[in-house]
Subunit: 463 residues, 2 copies
Amino acid sequence: MSVAHNLSASISSSSSAFLVPTDFNSTTFRPRNVPVPAKSFRICKCVAAPQEQKTAYKTKVSRNENMAKLQAGYLFPEVARRRAAHLQKYPDAKVISLGIGDTTEPIPEVITSAMANRSHALSTLEGYSGYGAEQGEKALRAAIASTFYKNFGIEDDDIFVSDGAKCDISRLQVMFGSNVTMAVQDPSYPAYVDSSVILGQTGLFQKDVEKYGKIEYMRCTPENGFFPHLSTVQRTDIIFFCSPNNPTGAAATREQLTQLVQFAKDNGTIIVYDSAYALYMSDDNPRSIFEIPGAKEVAIETSSFSKYAGFTGVRLGWTVVPKQLLFADGFPVAKDFNRIVSTCFNGASNIAQAGALACLSPDGLKAVYEVIGFYKENTKIIVDTFNSLGFKVYGGKNGPYVWVHFPGRSSWEVFSEILEKTHVVTTPGSGFGPGGEGFVRVSAFGHRENILEACRRFRELYR
Amino acid sequence: MSVAHNLSASISSSSSAFLVPTDFNSTTFRPRNVPVPAKSFRICKCVAAPQEQKTAYKTKVSRNENMAKLQAGYLFPEVARRRAAHLQKYPDAKVISLGIGDTTEPIPEVITSAMANRSHALSTLEGYSGYGAEQGEKALRAAIASTFYKNFGIEDDDIFVSDGAKCDISRLQVMFGSNVTMAVQDPSYPAYVDSSVILGQTGLFQKDVEKYGKIEYMRCTPENGFFPHLSTVQRTDIIFFCSPNNPTGAAATREQLTQLVQFAKDNGTIIVYDSAYALYMSDDNPRSIFEIPGAKEVAIETSSFSKYAGFTGVRLGWTVVPKQLLFADGFPVAKDFNRIVSTCFNGASNIAQAGALACLSPDGLKAVYEVIGFYKENTKIIVDTFNSLGFKVYGGKNGPYVWVHFPGRSSWEVFSEILEKTHVVTTPGSGFGPGGEGFVRVSAFGHRENILEACRRFRELYR
């Protein structure tokens, strides 16, 4: 629906939100601190007719000041907006999206059949089910525990099934509340920082350093092998740590994770470990933080079927909160998280849970590994391409993201250059934090012909 | 999984959470202020072996003080816990659950077929889709707008599709933040109050009045026809208002809702209107707050397919945030809500969305109304039963809940009496707020033979 359409509709209503001086479009809001490409497509601003100039009614509810701290639209909708604007400018361009890490390959039939069967069953008396446990179906919790955490001492009831890791990150933040401090890898998946801002854990955005106050940014660069110098990291209550990392693709080694757990233990810190890409690992690094002895006392782990089984749209993830993890007063963290999922959530879709259970069957797992193998081949093609062009390339081996270095250049500038000249959408590294400046993330999620074509265009642009 | 099992497992791990003096079980926590039935089943408390007596490791992260304010387990898990304990005590009892409002009838095939088809399509190149818009698929947003809000000036992009109204209530609370004040109907669906407590909007629980500080409880009793005396209601930033009401079943009239909107307008208040039971209405009352002129400037509406199409387990709801609704500084509320759904959520399951779209097709709607009609017949059976026994009964006509008055008695006591003597699970009215004391809510969601059998047992107990 175009803005022009919105405006004509609002003219017939009793007030006009378009007197508010913002580019308001419910899907893609323009952020305030992202440079506008000089030639980008802009929808013309219509001037409201004179009879509309009366002041719009405002409630007396103050806007949440934490929301106002957010500096830009969430990264990926902004990338999508740039893509849409590019398509408006070049309607005939064959745009290839290697930006948002969105899966493209069909879900293996053994999994979709299970979901279809569950759907059909819901129209039978025997197969119908209403509200499930907010924590997930027992069989699925058990299958997740035995598939991913066997021998690590994680029990079925430590697993909380959800509609995705991103959603769980916010629920964890709601549980922690406003008074905790947090650290993130820099760069990192923006949901950690943004949810922290929303919950009021941070100070204002400091434009000079491109950081929010009170967040500890743990620099992860080629210089330190993408693992933070923990000796220089200030103590925080929470550490968000993603390995294999989004966006850098770097995976922490067993030694590094052992250091991290020890660091958390020394500081009484809780690690929120995001292992959403664990099955992409080629090296022999831990696939779960719970492989590290003692981690159950300091760590939560969140993960997802999104990148394993193409469930980005189906929505199914999980979070592990071991009962050994205690707040300072001895209260079990899992007990509060259970209260959060019971109060703020109502369980993942039963159909999606049936799909997840099928993923963990022998045939399902085999199919899942095939899809992952396909994306890993894509990754290799992209890595080889940039390597052959003389770029320093990171990631790729243990995760589905390739982290390409453009030293001395602005990420958004490179993003725009690539988009303008090759019609390929990437993600600007600085969108993941100031440590990502000078990098661009290329996602390996795509049909093979698109990956090959994108690489052909990259070679043409940068040869 | 039993506590005993948990204990044996934890003995082999490096620490024991069971040194913490709580009945910790991830599914059903014992709340602290709910009286324990004298004869209720208790799992025996094992004493940890001596070598386990070392102090468990505790992090230095302070527990969120708002979580600590919560007085009991979320109501419905507590009811489920009582049900489970009853079943342990009477393993052969044929327990009938008219407690949590959980749908029991199969989903019409026209809807499940659409979900099965979407599932199958996900394993094809043409039918696969990954991340969808966080706000929902365009076709579904359009169908919701035209089915439920035609002629009310609600546009497609005012609709935010979600995984359920309960989840949206929490997301709205996250958006509002800690500094707003709120009012609720008393009694009301406990998710409003509990999410408000979690977000830090309230004071401590005041045991003498059974209320949280800083929440305005708007008494809704037979004396005021279940509509609050607005002249005695203190101004708050937010008013949660559910009509047809859960638990009382009362529906506000057009005149009452016009008063409510005017009250909000005078006070600059935002109404969060929960219309999850709107299609159960028999009387000619508004089915949406947006039927009231001017409501778009003061109201949000949240609703769900749960009780319309048996989607309690499928998970699909929506929230309407009109672009005319502005914070005090003129900032559109929808813009912040869009940021919340983009950051803290990732869209509802695409399969569930396909089901919702099918619900709104001509055949789907017809089937939905048939299911609703069935539950309405159940309601009448329950109402007639309690009426014939001489009870004062409310609700039932416009909602799927029957609100039975037991003057002078404690709700939990009546709940226990009914459970003990009839093996029927109901919900104690006081679980919905102090205004619900002396009432019991009987849900009309059930197979017909169960409803008839429950009513037979009620007649036996109370004749």
